[in-house]
C-alpha cells in the first residue's frame, strides 16, 4: 500500500497564507521536516485530513530566517524549536521559544554539519 503524497513548492513569503488555508480546511499538522541539500535547507510542512496526506515545501539558503506557524498551529513550536536547535535555522515569532535549549547537543547545530566524509568511529580499524 503506497499512499499518494502530493507536495507543492512554495516561497517563504507564502508560507503563512498556505498554512492558514490548511488550518481552515480542517487539516491537522502531521510533521515538519528539514533536510540539508547542498548548502540549502528544504523545509516540508505536512498535513493530514481523513488520511489524505499533503505537503508544502520551500527551499531556503543557509542563514535565512523563516516565520513561525505556531500562531496558526499552536503545537508547531515543538517542531520549530527542534529545527532551530538541529539545523540553526532562525524561526521568528514562536509562541514558545526555548532559545536554543530544547536539545542540549555536544556540537552546535549538529544536523547542519556534513559528516558524510568523516570516518565512522564505530567502523574504523584500531
Amino acid at each position: 500500500m503506497i499512499e499518494e503524497q502530493p507536495k507543492t513548492k512554495i516561497e517563504v513569503k507564502d508560507l503563512l497564507e498556505r498554512v492558514e488555508k490548511f488550518f481552515k480546511d480542517g487539516f491537522r499538522l502531521t510533521i515538519v521536516t528539514c533536510t540539508k541539500i547542498e548548502g540549502n535547507y528544504e523545509l516540508t510542512y505536512s498535513f493530514d485530513k481523513d488520511y489524505s496526506f499533503q505537503s508544502i515545501r520551500m527551499t531556503i539558503p543557509a542563514g535565512k530566517d523563516i516565520p513561525s506557524i505556531s500562531g496558526i498551529y499552536w503545537g508547531a513550536f515543538i517542531y520549530e524549536n527542534e529545527i532551530h536547535d538541529l539545523f540553526g535555522i532562525k524561526v521568528n515569532g514562536m509562541n514558545v521559544d526555548y532559545k536554543g535549549n530544547l536539545y542540549k547537543t555536544a556540537i552546535k547545530y549538529p544536523f547542519s554539519v556534513d559528516t558524510t566524509k568523516e570516518v565512522d568511529p564505530c567502523q574504523s580499524k584500531q
Binding site: 502531521t30 503545537g75 515543538i78 542540549k104
Partner: protein
C-alpha cells in the same frame, strides 16, 4: 494577582522513569501554566543514516525505542520499499501485522502496569505485568528477542512462524482473554480508579485535533484517527474498528488502551487464520532514489518515518516523528488548570516515551 510558585517536575521523578522536565506554574494547588523541557537524552540517530547503508539502518531504526522497536523497523522498511517499488510477499505482510499487534499488546500492558503504579495500585501493576510476560514469551519464541525483535528487513521478514505455532498462539490468546478481562475490569469499573481518573486532565476533541494529538490520546478525546485504517501491511485485509471514547479525560485514554487490547487479539486471530503460504521475503536490487513519508500506528499513535534516498547505498535523510513528540503540546493543555497532585497521572496518561521522542 495571586502569588505564583514554580515547581520543577522531573526529569527524575518517582512516578515517571522518563526524562521529561516540566516547570509547573502554580497558584495555590492549581497549575496555571506549564513549560515542558526535553533534550536530556537526544541521541541523533537520524544523523547516523549517513554512516549506515540503507539495509543496515533498520537495526538503528529498531533501537529508537525499546518498547515498540518492531514498529519502528516496520515504518522504516515500508518507507524504503515504497521508494523502491518493492512488492512484499503477502505472508510477510501478515507476519508483520501479527508482530505489530503483539507489540501493541505488550506496550499497552506495560503502560497499564505503570499507570496502576502511578495510582499507587501495586497489585494491579503486578497483574498487568504478569500478563505482559506471556506476550513477551511469544515475541521471544517467534522472533528471538523480547525487546528488539530484529525480524523486519527491506523486502520482507527474516523469520517465519510455523502453522502449529500460530494455532497455539491463538489458543493461548483465547485462554488469556479471561484473565485480561479480570484485570482490565478493575481499570474500567473499580470506583477508586474511576474517582482517580474521571474528569482529570481534560482534552477536548477540538484541542486534540488542532494540537496534533495522536493515538489513544486523540482517540480518548473522540478523534477517530488510526493509521491502521490506511491498510498498510495486512490491515487492509482484516476487519476491525478503531476504539474511540469521547470523555477526553484520563479515564477515556485508559479505556481506549484497555479496549484496544481486545481489538489486537482479534486482529491477531484473524491474521493467523488468513495468513497465506508462500515466501517471506523478496530479493532487493538497486538503491533507493526518491522520498516517502511512511506512516504507521504505534501503540502510542501515528509514527512517521520520512526516508529520502539519493540513489546510493546511504540515504540522504531519515526523519522520525514519534507520537510522544506530537503529544507534548496536547499534554501542556491537559495540565493547565489541573491540581498539582494530578500531574503525574496526567503525564502518564499520554504514555510518554521520551527515549523514542528524542531519537
Amino acid at each position: 494577582m495571586p502569588k505564583q510558585t514554580v515547581i520543577p517536575f522531573g526529569p527524575q521523578h518517582p512516578v515517571l522513569p522518563e526524562p521529561i522536565h516540566l516547570d509547573l506554574v502554580l497558584e495555590d494547588e492549581k497549575v496555571v501554566d506549564v513549560l515542558p523541557s526535553i533534550g536530556y537524552v537526544h541521541r541523533g540517530l537520524e544523523k547516523l543514516v549517513e554512516k549506515r547503508e540503507f539495509p543496515e539502518y533498520v537495526y538503528v531504526a529498531e533501537r529508537i525505542c525499546g518498547i515498540c522497536s518492531f514498529i519502528h523497523g516496520l515504518a522504516y522498511v515500508q518507507g524504503v520499499e515504497a521508494i523502491m517499488n518493492i512488492e512484499v510477499p503477502d505472508r510477510a505482510e501478515y507476519l508483520r501485522t501479527i508482530w505489530s499487534e503483539y507489540s501493541r499488546l505488550h506496550s499497552h500492558l506495560l503502560w497499564l502496569g505503570l499507570f496502576a503504579d502511578g495510582m499507587g495500585f501495586e497489585s494491579l501493576f503486578m497483574n498487568s505485568w504478569r500478563l505482559r510476560e506471556k506476550i513477551l514469551d511469544v515475541l521471544e519464541e517467534t522472533t528471538g528477542g523480547r525487546v528488539i525483535q530484529g525480524t523486519c528487513k527491506v523486502g520482507g521478514v527474516r523469520r517465519d512462524i510455523a502453522g502449529e505455532t500460530l494455532d497455539r498462539m491463538i489458543k493461548d490468546l483465547e485462554e488469556m482473554q479471561g484473565e485480561l478481562k479480570d484485570v482490565t475490569n478493575v481499570f474500567l469499573k473499580d470506583s477508586a480508579v474511576k474517582h482517580r481518573l474521571k474528569n482529570v486532565g481534560i482534552l477536548t476533541k477540538k484541542e486534540a485535533y488542532e494540537l496534533g494529538a495522536v493515538g489513544p490520546t486523540a482517540r480518548g478525546s473522540g478523534v477517530d484517527i488510526d493509521l491502521r485504517k490506511t491498510g498498510y501491511a495486512a490491515y487492509g485485509k482484516l476487519n476491525f474498528e478503531p476504539v474511540v471514547e469521547a470523555g477526553g479525560d484520563c479515564y477515556s485514554r485508559c479505556s481506549v488502551r484497555v479496549k484496544e487490547l481486545f481489538t489486537s487479539i482479534d486482529i491477531i486471530k484473524q491474521a493467523a487464520k488468513k495468513i497465506p503460504d508462500g515466501p517471506i521475503e523478496t530479493k532487493i536490487t538497486g538503491n533507493p532514489d526518491g522520498e516517502y513519508f511512511s506512516r504507521v500506528e504505534q501503540p502510542r499513535g501515528e509514527l512517521v518515518h520520512y526516508v529520502k534516498g539519493n540513489g546510493t547505498r546511504h540515504l540522504a535523510r531519515s526523519r522520525v516523528r514519534t507520537p510522544t513528540f506530537t503529544n507534548v503540546p496536547p499534554l501542556v493543555k491537559m495540565l493547565t488548570g489541573c491540581e498539582l497532585a494530578d500531574v503525574p497521572i496526567i503525564v502518564l496518561s499520554i504514555d510518554p516515551c521520551i527515549g523514542c521522542c528524542e531519537r
